[in-house]
């Protein structure tokens, strides 16, 4: 299991499309991926779970990944969370 704390960046309002993109990116991996904000933890592969976190620019998120491809999954997810322009 690997974990990393990142600061969430987002130029525009956190649109549903970007949440959907995040769950798609996460679903490509076999490892289980969880996002933690304050006391709440959500499965990164579930769209409603991610949206329930109500993330806004500057939030601190704890990404924890567990499974065979955890390193690659952690990198992909944290990169996406930290990049300001979500459309790319």
């Amino acid at each position: 299991m690997v974990t990393k704390t990142v600061i969430f960046r987002c130029d525009d309002d956190w649109q549903m499309k970007s949440a959907a993109l995040l769950t798609q990116k996460a679903s490509a991996f076999r490892a289980s991926i969880f996002l933690g904000k304050d006391e709440r933890r959500a499965n990164a592969k579930s769209l409603l779970g991610v949206m329930s976190l109500g993330m806004i620019d500057g939030d601190e998120l704890v990404v924890s990944v567990d499974g065979e491809d955890e390193e690659a999954a952690l990198e992909a997810v944290t990169n996406y969370l930290e990049q300001a322009d979500k459309d790319q």
């Binding site: 933890r41 409603l48 949206m51 329930s52």
Partner: protein, 307 residues
């Protein structure tokens, strides 16, 4: 540690604010106990918890009124000097001048309720127990089938949401999809809710997000439900041996409470909703003292003894 701000308590119970000193958003209550400071007003502070809300009603007010002037001020001052979070006056009693002066001196908020003391105290304790309960967010679906709160757990994509939709179509209720906030409200009770942002929404792959309340009406959803048992859904594993009789007693530990659970293997073509529904009926039957597997065993032995 969870806590509740005074302002939330005021709006929950429709309290009247008599003195607030700008402390309504900064004062946080972290204990669910409430004190009626009868003994404290007589000067006894042994085992006193100054972090609790203090409630005074008929009895305390009558006692204070029976005291002579310098003594009354001393007693109230002593109570306020401990730094209590607030004082609630019930039954719409008037706060005396002395009480107001002491509150000003120690900056203790004073609130007022029209309710009777014991009724207010018991609702406050109940409310605080729910708000302050240890909590955890779980990836799963919470549904209510025939009055039983069922928490379905399992990997992403195993078919939890699809099952929940079919369950709703069959006339049962959805509480939460994807993320369930579970609170331990007592030593034996777990309460599940959906986070407000995603309440009563469901995600079906290929369709997107559906609003169950809008689609199927208010009778298809529920705000919260106790968790009576857990169903673990997992992809069918050829090597694993699954329970065939229903004699095994499995349980899942959530926040230190053991919840009865079953594991259902998922395979394309298996109608999960029917299985979940019948599992709920079976669970009720077991609770009422009938176990089909045990009845079968009895029948087998009776046959043998007759031969």
């Amino acid at each position: 540690m969870n806590s509740v701000r005074l302002r939330e308590i005021i709006s929950e119970f429709n309290l009247e604010t008599i003195r607030d000193f700008g402390k309504l958003d900064t004062t946080e209550i972290a204990v669910a106990d409430v004190t009626r400071p009868g003994l404290q007003l007589t000067g006894n502070f042994e085992h006193f918890g100054p972090d609790r809300i203090q409630v005074v009603g008929n009895m305390e007010m009558a006692y204070l009124n029976s005291l002579q002037e310098p003594e009354r001020r001393t007693r109230i001052s002593q109570l306020f000097a401990t730094g209590i979070p607030c004082l609630v006056i019930t039954r719409h009693h008037e706060a005396s001048n002395v009480m107001m002066q002491c509150a000003d001196k120690y900056k203790i908020p004073i609130l007022r309720s029209a309710d009777t003391t014991s009724s207010f105290t018991s609702s406050l304790v109940k409310y605080l127990n729910v708000e302050l309960a240890p909590r955890i967010s779980m990836h799963g679906v919470l549904i209510e089938v025939y009055g039983e709160g069922i928490l379905m757990l399992g990997e992403s994509g195993v078919g939890k949401s699809e099952t929940a939709l079919e369950i709703v179509k069959r006339g049962h209720r959805l509480i939460a999809d994807d993320l369930v906030e579970v609170r331990r409200v007592s030593e034996a009770t777990l309460l599940g809710r959906a986070p407000e942002i995603i309440r009563h929404l469901i995600e079906i792959r290929g369709l997107g997000i559906l609003d169950v309340k809008e689609l199927y009406g208010v009778s298809s959803v529920k705000m919260q439900e106790n968790i009576h048992f857990v169903i673990n859904l997992e992809l069918w594993d050829e090597k694993k041996v699954y329970d065939r009789l229903g004699l095994q007693e499995e349980s899942t530990n959530i926040l230190g409470i053991k919840v009865p659970s079953i594991t259902i293997p998922v395979r394309p073509g298996r109608n999960l909703a029917v299985i979940v529904e019948v599992a709920a009926i079976n669970f009720r039957q077991k609770k009422m003292g009938y176990n089909a597997a045990r009845a079968l065993t009895d029948r087998v032995f009776r046959q043998e003894s007759l031969q």
